[in-house]
Amino acid sequence: MNSSKSPSDVPLKEEVITEKRTPAGETPPSRPPQDSYGQLAMSRIRSSMEQVYGITMFGLKFFRYVFVPPYEWSQVRKHFDELGAKSIPLLTIVGVIMGLILALQSRPTLDRFGAGGFLPAMIALTIVRELGPVITALIVAGRVSSGIGAEVGSMKVTEQIDALEVSGIDPYNYLVVTRVLACAIILPLLTAYLDFLAIFGGYIAEWISSSSSMQLYFTEVVQSLTFYDVIPGVGKTVAFGYIIGLIGAYQGYNTSRGTEGVGMAATSAVVLASLNIIFLDMVIIQLTILILGPGT
């Protein structure tokens, strides 16, 4: 790690080399002695530890930058449009269908227990607390993390990041902070949008099967939802958005030379972001239960 610049810097630039030097891809001609397996395992572990450390430092740096000028609002606005607004068509379709399916599948079971009347409440709670945030985050991760990874990655390999830097512009602030911020702001809005559509999808199913009244359905929905369902549900998506933007940008920023690296950055960004979202969701659920009590 000898080539990053600002003193505070995360090892940004030459991870690649360390990675290349691990004997991971080589197949030894004969069965290697015992300790080389050990070495292989060690070097694997070390390189993943390095990556975890790298991402953590990269992510913490965001908080040092985001509250201090210069602010790049015009860039953030641009990303709102590119990252957020363009996800809307997909989210619309998924949202409605998700609610529809949920209602269709749950109705017979609920009826069997004589609890059919709870259907609106059940849909609302499932969607708002859990499915809405996670599905939105995963969909946006698929679209946006890879997009950011590829975009930043190609800027890296074509030296555009270097070009920003020599013209005295901090590329982290200009490229990373803006994207992460845009994601963290836009994701709660997209989640709220998907939640609404999914609940509406649930109504469509109800209307098809029993032509129940919209007013009744939505009254039940609203009554069943409390502050403590909505706020943690939508609130955690701020963290999901942060992860989506951050991991995309990190993978892009650490792209090795060449176009092949750009593709890899895009793919690994989606995988990593999705895993982290699921993991973080689990942690947040535990925390919510701990703080607000199991009843909520």
Binding site: S3, P7, E14, T18, S154, E159, D162, A163, G168
Partner: protein, 249 residues
């Protein structure tokens, strides 16, 4: 150094840089004085770009010392480095144009960032620079619509639009036809003579080196093999140097 001697504008002392097992620079030293235009020759992959990038702080050497305008570049604080970089222009080997911006925006970008320049002036400067490199017609094109040589010239225009006092040119004439290449060499010479720009140029183009160089360095196996004026090197008996100059002999 004796006290009567002027402080060099760029001073590189004993710089080492390696990537993993690959030792690229192994003790490079050079001094560039204000207003001078120095040229680095060397075979492909020998580390010329790495040296230029080290001088502007894009790469951090493993050891050695680099001073630009009296500032220690290695270990410099990011904010101070950014300030120093405002008086530096850098022409990237592969242009490195921002591919989401048009040519006009690419050129305007560094200017708008250095506050105090109003919109009208930005526009005027953009057009002026494009005229210098002969590409006014490309003003509203995207970088993806340009040829390699055109990108190169836009990259050059972008590097000098802020009127820097030091410019680094990484192969400014590579991939250009002989006529354009000569025009670019003359442009570089002009900038030096008119505005007193100090520059370091990496090139394989001996015509360009002949036109602009006050002093030429040959980088080989991680160190400067030899340095001198064009004519001195042309007469040199040193074998590698002779190989470089055979073409023009």
């Amino acid at each position: 150094m004796s006290e009567t001697e002027i402080q060099p504008l760029i001073e590189v002392q004993n710089v080492y840089k390696s990537f993993g097992d690959l030792d690229v620079l192994k003790g490079v030293s050079m001094q560039v004085h204000s207003g001078s235009s120095d040229v680095i020759l060397g075979r492909s992959g020998i580390g010329k770009s790495v040296l230029l990038k080290s001088i502007v702080g894009l790469l951090i050497p493993d050891s050695g010392n680099i001073e630009v305008m009296g500032h220690q570049v290695i270990g410099m604080k990011a904010s101070a480095l950014n300030k120093l970089r405002k008086s530096i222009g850098y022409v990237f080997q592969y242009a490195a144009l921002y591919d989401s911006l048009t040519v006009r925006e690419n050129l305007a970008f560094p200017l708008q960032r250095h506050s105090g320049v109003d919109e009208e002036e930005v526009n005027a400067r953009v057009i002026e620079q494009l005229r210098l490199v002969g590409l006014e017609s490309a003003i509203d094109k995207m970088p993806s619509e340009l040829s390699g040589g055109m990108k190169k010239r836009i990259g050059l225009a972008r590097a000098i639009i802020t009127k820097p006092s030091i410019v680094f040119y990484d192969e400014p004439t590579a991939g250009l036809d002989p006529i354009t290449a000569r025009e670019i060499s003359e442009l570089i010479l002009n900038l030096e003579e008119q505005f007193g720009i100090t520059s370091i140029t990496v090139t394989h183009d001996l015509e360009c080196a002949r036109t602009i160089a006050n002093r030429i360095y040959i980088l080989d196996a991680g160190v400067f093999l030899i340095s001198g004026t064009f004519n001195e090197l042309k007469e040199s008996m040193e074998p590698t140097t002779r190989k470089f100059f055979k073409v023009v002999a």
